[in-house]
C-alpha cells in the first residue's frame, strides 16, 4: 500500500476540493455558490476521516471480539465540521432569500448592476424603524 494507490483517497479529496472551490468562485448564482461551498467543506471530511481508517479494523464502538479500531478522534472533529457546514448553509440561504426579496434576483452580476443604479435602497422598506 504505497505509491499511487496508497494516496488515492487523498487525490480524490484534492479533486473534490478544487471542484468545490471552482464552483464557488466561478459561478455567479448565489445558490450555486452555496452548493460549491458545501462541496468544498464536505471534501475536507475525507482529509480527516480517510487517514483514520485502518484496514481490518472496525468502527470505534468497543465490543468483545474486536481488538483493532479505527481512529475515533477525526470522527469527532468532522461531526463538528458537519454541523458548522449546515449552520453556514442555513445562514447563507437565509441571506440569499433576503437578497432575492430586496433585489429580485440572485445572480451576482444583476445584483451589482442594481446596486449601481440604486445604491441607497433600504434592505426592507417597511422594516426600518421610524426616526424620532
Amino acid at each position: 500500500m504505497s505509491g499511487f494507490w496508497g494516496h488515492y483517497t487523498y487525490f480524490v479529496t484534492v479533486f473534490l476540493m478544487v471542484a468545490g472551490l471552482y464552483i464557488l468562485i466561478a459561478r455567479g448564482n448565489l445558490l450555486k455558490k452555496l452548493i460549491g461551498l458545501s462541496v468544498f467543506q464536505t471534501s475536507v471530511y475525507l482529509l480527516y476521516i480517510a487517514p483514520g481508517k485502518l484496514v481490518g479494523a472496525t468502527a470505534p464502538i468497543l465490543a468483545d471480539g474486536y481488538a483493532v479500531y479505527s481512529n475515533p478522534l477525526p470522527h469527532v472533529l468532522i461531526l463538528t465540521a458537519i454541523v458548522v457546514g449546515v449552520a453556514t448553509l442555513a445562514l447563507g440561504l437565509a441571506i440569499a432569500v433576503r437578497i432575492r426579496d430586496a433585489y429580485g434576483t440572485i445572480e451576482e452580476d444583476e445584483i451589482l448592476e442594481r446596486d449601481r443604479s440604486e445604491p441607497d435602497a433600504d434592505a426592507e422598506p417597511l422594516a426600518r424603524p421610524e426616526r424620532s
Partner: protein, 180 residues
C-alpha cells in the same frame, strides 16, 4: 477489498461533482448534491466512521437538501449563463490543488498503523474510555466528555444559525400603521 470499495465510492463522488459543475438547472444541482451526500455517507461507513455517516446522511442528504429545495422554491430555477471566461477562478482553484497535492505527498499512506494519529492521543481514548467513562461508543465519549467543550461550541454554532435565521427571515409586520 475494503480499500477497493472505498476507492470506487470516492470515484463516484468525483463523477457527481463534475456533473454538478456542468448542470445549469438548479433543481438538478440540488438533487445531485443530495446524491453526493449519500455517496459521501456510504464512503464514511466504509471508512468506519458510522457516527459521521449517520450525521452526514441526516444533515447533508436530509436537512441540507430540504433547505436547498425550500430556498429554490423562492428562486428562479435556472442559473444564468456565466458572462465571462472563468479563467481566474480556475487558476485559483488549481493553485490550491497544487499546494494540497504537494502536501499530501508527504502524508503517511492510507491505513498506515504507524501514522502519528494512530500512535498519539487516540490510543489513550481507546484504552481508557471504559475505565474512565464507561461509554463503549468512543466517538460519543470523546464528543461529549473528552472534547465536550468543542461540542458546546458546536451547539452554540447551531444556536447561532437558528437565532440568525430568525433575525433575518422573521416576517415583518405592516409597520407602525396604527401608530401613525
Amino acid at each position: 477489498m475494503e480499500t477497493l470499495i472505498v476507492n470506487v465510492l470516492l470515484t463516484g463522488l468525483a463523477v457527481v461533482v463534475v456533473a454538478m459543475a456542468l448542470q445549469r438547472n438548479l433543481f438538478g444541482v440540488v438533487v445531485l448534491s443530495g446524491i453526493y451526500s449519500f455517496l459521501m455517507a456510504t464512503a464514511l461507513v466504509a471508512l468506519d466512521a458510522v457516527d459521521v455517516a449517520m450525521t452526514e446522511a441526516a444533515v447533508g442528504a436530509g436537512v441540507s437538501t430540504v433547505l436547498l429545495l425550500g430556498a429554490l422554491h423562492l428562486f428562479s430555477s435556472m442559473e444564468a449563463k456565466p458572462l465571462h471566461r472563468p479563467l481566474l477562478p480556475l487558476v485559483i482553484a488549481l493553485g490550491m490543488g497544487a499546494v494540497l497535492a504537494y502536501g499530501i505527498l508527504g502524508l503517511p499512506s492510507f491505513s498506515d498503523p504507524q501514522a502519528p494519529i494512530h500512535v498519539h492521543v487516540a490510543p489513550v481514548y481507546l484504552s481508557s474510555v471504559m475505565r474512565e467513562t464507561g461509554v463503549p461508543n468512543v466517538v460519543t465519549a470523546v464528543l461529549a466528555s473528552y472534547r465536550g467543550y468543542d461540542t458546546l461550541g458546536e451547539t452554540v454554532v447551531v444556536f447561532t444559525a437558528g437565532a440568525g435565521v430568525i433575525a433575518l427571515l422573521r416576517r415583518r409586520k405592516r409597520l407602525k400603521e396604527k401608530d401613525k
